[in-house]
């Protein structure tokens, strides 16, 4: 039984379809990536999962059951615009939010102190949100989303606007939550985070699902069209090899684009005949490339 399962979920705003037939499953201890350009339908999907808005079609199942009030206790949510009271102390509002989610005062306070300690900012306990920098406000929002030890966590653009140190800190925390069995639905438009954290992803484009599945499977579906070649000397006539579409001279060798994977062998042989090969790699497409290929063209 998957903790979270979406089946053909549709959401319409007037004549506009915001989310069209999305289906996905998030398992226990999984970080599921939801990718897409701005306005692709990520946030709408998340809001439907949270029960904030009601799907116009399809169904959302939590541990096999439809939405019910008890879910409020086991879900955590970090909205894209950090939802916290600017003028109220960190301790007061996070304990308040945790209590609304069914925690006792003592447990909430203990949990908050643990997380502040964990993020190395115990002094924020008595600070008001508006006194903190934007990045730190976001950390507090993150704590507010997980302070009650939820089973399902929804993170909308959790890492945007953070410095690299804090991104690493949050990534480590998210991984830790995953290892403890939390199901995390995670949206972003930063591919490198997804490749590091997620096994399965869905790429949304203009309300439709364009790519979905295991990252490795997805990548294998896309042909390897790039060869990286580092050599000690020059290699002539690479561009006349059949199947080579472009050759670019780079610092220590060549960056070659090919039409079919078989061409790569010809390049290697040719290079070995002429000089010493230091490095040869048939590169797999990055998610970024896949994303741009699927989404980018219509972006312009």
């Amino acid at each position: 039984m998957e903790p979270l399962k979406l089946v053909n979920v549709v959401k319409q705003y007037g004549d506009k379809t915001a989310v069209n037939q999305i289906s996905l499953e998030v398992g226990r201890g999984e970080i599921y990536g939801l990718l897409g350009a701005n306005g692709a339908g990520k946030t709408t999907t998340m809001r439907m999962v949270l029960g904030l808005i009601y799907p116009d079609g399809g169904e959302i199942l939590y541990n096999g059951k439809p939405y019910h009030a008890e879910l409020q206790q086991i879900m955590g949510y970090l909205p894209e615009e950090r939802g916290l009271y600017p003028k109220i102390k960190v301790s007061e509002q996070i304990v308040y939010l945790a209590r609304l989610r069914g925690m006792s005062q003592q447990d909430a306070d203990k949990s908050l102190r643990y997380w502040l300690e964990r993020f190395d900012v115990p002094e924020y306990y008595d600070k008001r949100i508006e006194e903190l920098s934007k990045g730190n406000q976001q950390k507090m929002g993150f704590i507010a989303a997980i302070v009650h030890k939820p089973q399902i966590v929804i993170l909308d653009e959790a890492f945007s606007g953070l410095d690299p140190v804090n991104v690493e800190l949050l990534k480590a925390t998210v991984k830790e939550l995953r290892d403890e069995g939390t199901s995390i639905l995670f949206s972003t438009h930063r591919m490198e985070h997804v490749e590091e954290l997620c096994q399965r992803i869905t790429i949304l484009h203009k309300s439709n699902t364009v790519v979905q599945g295991n990252i490795r499977d997805i990548k294998s579906r896309y042909p390897r069209e790039e060869v990286l070649l580092h050599t000690t000397g020059d290699v002539g006539g690479l561009d006349v090899i059949p199947g080579v579409t472009a050759v670019e001279r780079i610092d220590r060798g060549y960056h070659i684009r090919i039409a079919a994977p078989e061409t790569a062998q010809g390049i290697l042989q040719k290079a070995m005949q002429e000089t010493t090969v230091e490095r040869f790699e048939i590169k797999e497409p990055t998610l970024n490339q896949i994303f741009i290929q699927e989404v980018g063209d219509s972006h312009e």
């Binding site: 949270l50 029960g51 904030l52 409020q72 308040y96 989303a145």
Partner: protein, 429 residues
């Protein structure tokens, strides 16, 4: 239920601690204190002048008898505010001069002593004849006239009896057909006056606290919406609990504020110099009609909730605090109408308007209050009005929670009625 308590506590604590609330309360308390002590302060500034009687000149002229009687009357009546001062002759030169110098408030002159009683003219300064002077002179002249005309025909007792005001007792027949004896007229008058004060105070209290707390609620909801914390709140707790938690929390804040003002008013009344003034009106707390107070407070609280849930609903539809003022307009108007219907009907508590409006939930808190306080209302009518009010609180509370649930997620353009209706159908509260 537990969560409701958490929300009430959080709302109360954070609202009551804001600087704006503390400062407003402090300033208003200060204004009340100043306002209540203004008469005393003026008295202090004016010094002894105020306690000294104001003088009214009499041109003795051709009517020495009337003048003498007036002086006698003034001495007998025990009125310390005005005394007469004599001017010899008929020429007003000296009196005019004294008037200009401010020594006297005005002077009386008599024309044509041929008839039974001459025409009397009061010549005053810039202010003319003030209310105080008029209410002093009229009975004085009336008494003197009687004395002068009937002097020889009637005995002193008969004249005194003539001057006695007519006694008019009231007896009311209530709705059950029983007569209520007039009983102690004085006490009844005092109770009526006290009822008037209670009704008046409750009316103003209802109106001001409704406006203030109502706007507070709407602003609170809108700011939660614009800071998107609403998205977290709605996924944590049911909108109904959220809305009523907020409404009750802010209600408590309002109560605390009113209590503070009450203490300030009480403390000011306790001051010795204000005690005298209060006694001057011969009002005492024991004259307060408890049923009026009880019903007044009951209608006050229920009315508050009815308006408060509507304010919360409006707050949830608006996305930005700047748009709020315009959006709450209809409810503000409703509150205003309710207030003025009550206020204007205090003297006409039996009118058709107030009878009808006392059954309309939005105006019932003020209209019924006036009816109970200033007249008699059959109990069954009060109960019907209360039940209607309760039912409409439940209905509008439910409707507002629906709007709240739906409205908080509509950003940007204002939602159309159709969209709202569709969204409302979808959510359970």
């Amino acid at each position: 239920m537990n969560k409701l308590g958490t929300i009430i506590g959080f709302t109360f604590k954070n609202k009551a601690r804001t600087k704006s609330f503390l400062i407003t309360t402090l300033i208003l308390a200060l204004l009340i204190t100043i306002g209540m002590n203004v008469p005393y302060i003026i008295k202090l500034i004016k010094g002894d002048d105020a306690s000294k009687a104001e003088q009214i000149g009499i041109l003795y002229g051709s009517q020495p008898v009337i003048a003498a009687e007036l002086e006698k009357y003034a001495a007998q009546s025990g009125n310390k505010d005005y005394t007469f001062i004599k001017y010899e002759g008929t020429a007003p030169d000296q009196a005019k001069k004294d008037l200009e110098d401010g020594k006297i408030e005005g002077y009386l002159s008599f024309d044509g002593g041929d008839g039974a009683f001459p025409a009397v003219t009061f010549t005053g300064g810039e202010d003319g004849m003030g209310q105080g002077i008029s209410s002093f002179l009229m009975p004085a002249l009336q008494t003197v006239k009687t004395t002068v005309i009937a002097k020889d025909a009637l005995s002193a007792e008969q004249i005194a009896a003539l001057n006695e005001p007519v006694k008019l007792d009231t007896v009311r027949i209530n709705a059950e057909g029983k007569t209520e004896a007039g009983g102690d007229t004085h006490r009844e008058d005092m109770q009526k006056a006290m009822n008037y004060v209670v009704v008046y105070v409750l009316l103003i209290l209802f109106f001001t606290s409704n406006m203030m707390t109502g706007n507070m609620i709407a602003a609170e909801v809108t700011s939660e919406k614009s800071s998107r914390i609403m998205e977290i709140l709605i996924t944590s707790v049911s909108p109904l609990a959220q809305m009523f938690g907020k409404v009750i929390g802010i209600f408590l804040v309002g109560i605390v504020q009113i209590a503070v003002f009450g203490v300030v008013v009480g403390a000011n009344l306790m001051l010795p110099h204000n005690q005298d003034i209060l006694q001057g009106y011969s009002l005492s707390i024991s004259d307060i009609n408890l049923p009026v107070l009880f019903y007044g407070l009951l209608f006050y609280i229920l009315g508050y909730f009815l308006y408060a849930v509507l304010y919360a609903a409006i707050g949830s539809i608006v996305s930005r605090t700047e748009d709020l003022g315009q959006a709450v307009m209809p409810i503000t108007m409703l509150g205003l109408a309710s207030f003025y219907i009550g206020l204007f009907s205090i003297t006409a508590s039996g009118s058709m308007l107030i009878k009808v409006t006392s059954f309309i939930p939005f105006t019932a808190p003020t209209a019924m209050l006036v009816r109970i306080g200033m007249g008699t209302v059959p109990t069954w009518q009060i109960l019907i009005s209360l039940v209607l009010l309760l039912v409409s609180i439940l209905f509008f509370g439910w409707l507002s929670a629906k709007i709240y649930r739906t409205g908080v997620l509509m950003y940007g353009k204002r939602p159309s009625i159709k969209e709202l209706r569709k969204a409302m159908k979808a959510y359970k509260i």
